[in-house]
């Protein structure tokens, strides 16, 4: 994977209320996404580009079980999050919604605006200067879920195949 991804940096303990603010939860996901991270990076939602990556501190996505906190990043085109640790429910929700989470203890070494590539064959983040940061391997079935765009499209495909056979 030689695609390059621009890095947006955020700090530690980014909770689900920062990703999907409670005040907008009655709205649809595209409207919630417009307010994603507005408390910490007000310029983020309007300027993030498809394929960009979030580099965060520990405990990314702690808080509620609302899956909109993962879906908002997907709808904004975020390719992946790179962080040392995640809220447990968020980790599950992210893959179910098709968002790749890389667990990388050195995530905070990444710099704002830097262009990185993700090498999923060796589970490394490759920095602009060539430095490689190791990530925890992700089981194949979760990678497949992300590649399918999440659990819903994956189930749809599986059911279609079952019906066809």
């Amino acid at each position: 994977m030689s695609e390059h991804h621009r890095v947006w940096k955020v700090g530690a303990d980014v909770d689900t209320d920062q990703l999907a603010p409670g005040a907008y939860m009655k709205l649809g996901i595209h409207d919630i996404a417009k307010h994603c991270l507005e408390g910490v990076r007000p310029e983020f939602a309007a300027n993030v580009k498809t394929g960009d990556v979030l580099a965060a501190g520990p405990n990314f996505g702690i808080g509620s079980s609302r899956e909109q906190a993962a879906d908002a990043l997907v709808k904004l085109g975020v390719k992946a999050v790179v962080a040392p640790s995640y809220g447990g429910l968020y980790f599950r929700n992210a893959f179910n919604l098709g968002l790749l989470l890389l667990t990388c203890k050195d995530a905070q070494a990444l710099e704002e605006g830097e262009k990185i590539s993700l090498d999923l064959s060796t589970w490394t983040v490759v920095r602009a200067n060539g430095q490689r940061l190791a990530c925890d391997p992700i089981p194949d079935f979760l990678v497949a879920m992300v590649e399918a765009g999440g659990l819903l499209p994956q189930l749809k495909l599986r059911l279609q195949q079952q019906r066809a056979s």
Binding site: D13, D17, G22, K26, N59, I62, G63, S64, S65, R66, E67, S85, G87, G88, L89, F91, R92, N93, N96, L97, P139, F141, G150, L151, L152, L155, K156, L159
Partner: protein
């Protein structure tokens, strides 16, 4: 990869292994589990699952293993609530769901009271307080709506075998100190993500001495520690309580953590624990009750799955018996289930609460999640609920303190945060 069968296992490992059809599992391993039961409510369930199921053209894998509880938007207060509850009721009829509990109480209390949970089961709930089931030796946790869709279609779910934290509470609690105080203390010590999605197991003499409802209060709030589940080894208390629910074929043998199993142990002394209070706006903001002495209170709320079960109502009545609430203090009581309310009524507990000046609200999630009741702006509130995040109870300017039913009742009675042991003495 697989270890010899005599490897000591924690209770969490044993429960996962059973659901995965394995003799044992290793911490960190990812396994696929068969789900014994899926529970969801009017807010997390039909309104989200129905359109996704229709998009897939799929059916529920096993309707006998699905439980729907209407508790969040009942009683319906506005058009949005009416629409959401109507979707749930119509879908329940259309699907001919066999287990639907409409306006009978809060899902985490109704589910075990109706005999759906037993030791050894592997269950999911569409709500973050689903770990309540751990009090019965059930591996139960909350999932998001898309993940619930996967369960409802396939009957399966993956899980990464978590590390176990053993929270050992030695000795016995003093009168007027409760499971809620134990939980607030632990959340204060370990923080909101302190569990790192581990399995927590509560053990020790003080836990063994707790009634089933008190155990549920502990397991419920393990969600506030960032853990996946909050388990308690089933014993005679479990067996006796389950006998009252009509649950059949209850087996408790073997559902315990083996000697030498891989776990991190933390020790606590129940005998020296004093009533705890969590200050705004986090359950982790916990200190001893005397640190908040003289903080004035305008609203007190005894409600929620974690704070208005029969024993919580009894505790409040014990404080308020023969007493009158002062002018300027509003005490609201929303029993956690109709069954608990009826029993409290027959024991005179509800009458005691009413005579003291408390208002009794309908049994539902109500004010805990900002769906009902009225919390005035700027008020100091003390509540038996699980979370005091800013704005959660409906007003962003309300200051919400969390405490046990004893402490909430005593604080209402005195008009300021008070140690219930002074009132009970």
């Amino acid at each position: 990869m697989s270890k010899p069968t005599n490897t000591p296992q924690t209770l969490a490992q044993k429960l996962i292994a059973k659901a995965a059809g394995r003799s044992n599992v290793a911490v960190g391993e990812i396994v696929n589990c068969q789900v014994d039961l899926a529970m969801f409510h009017d807010s997390s369930g039909p309104r989200r699952l129905k359109p996704m199921l229709e998009e897939l053209g799929a059916e529920i894998w096993d309707k006998s293993r699905v439980v729907l509880v209407m508790d969040h938007y009942v009683p319906e207060r506005d058009d949005d609530s009416r629409r959401i509850v109507r979707i749930a009721r119509e879908w329940a009829l259309e699907q001919k769901l066999p287990h639907v509990y409409d306006s009978l109480g809060i899902c985490h209390v109704v589910l075990p009271q109706k005999g759906h949970l037993k030791p050894g089961m592997f269950c999911v709930g569409g709500d973050s307080h689903s770990p309540t089931g751990g009090a019965l030796g059930t591996y139960m946790f909350g999932v998001g709506s898309t993940e619930m869709l996967g369960v409802v279609v396939t009957g399966q779910l993956w899980v990464r075998v978590p590390q176990t934290f053993l929270m050992r509470w030695n000795n016995r609690l003093q009168p007027g100190v409760t499971a809620k105080d134990m939980m607030l203390h632990m959340i204060g010590r370990f923080g909101m993500n302190g569990g790192e999605y581990q399995a927590i197991e509560f053990c020790g003499d003080a836990v063994k001495a707790l009634s089933m409802q008190e155990r549920m209060t502990m397991s419920n709030m393990s969600a506030e520690m960032g853990s996946q589940v909050g388990l308690i080894e089933p014993d005679q208390v479990t067996r006796d309580w389950l006998a009252t629910t009509g649950a059949k074929d209850v087996l408790i043998e073997g559902w315990h953590t083996d000697q030498g199993a891989e776990a991190v142990t933390h020790e606590f002394d129940a005998a020296t624990l004093v009533p705890q209070v969590a200050a705004p706006h986090s359950p982790a903001n916990t200190k001893s009750v005397d640190e908040f002495k003289n903080t004035p209170i305008q609203v007190a709320y005894i409600g929620a799955c974690t704070g208005a079960k029969l024993e919580d109502l009894r505790a409040a009545a014990q404080v308020l018996r023969g007493q009158q609430l002062p002018a300027g203090v509003r005490l609201m009581v929303a029993p956690a289930s109709l069954q608990d309310q009826a029993q409290a009524e027959s024991e005179g507990v509800m009458q005691t609460l009413r005579l003291s000046g408390a208002e009794v609200l309908p049994t539902s999630c109500g004010a805990c999640s900002g769906y009902g009741g009225s919390i005035p702006d700027g008020a100091n509130v003390i509540a038996t609920t699980a979370r005091n995040f800013k704005g959660r109870m409906g007003s962003a300017t309300a200051q919400v303190y969390l405490a046990s039913p004893y402490t909430v009742a005593a604080s209402a009675l005195r008009g300021s945060i008070s140690d219930p042991r002074e009132v009970l003495a």
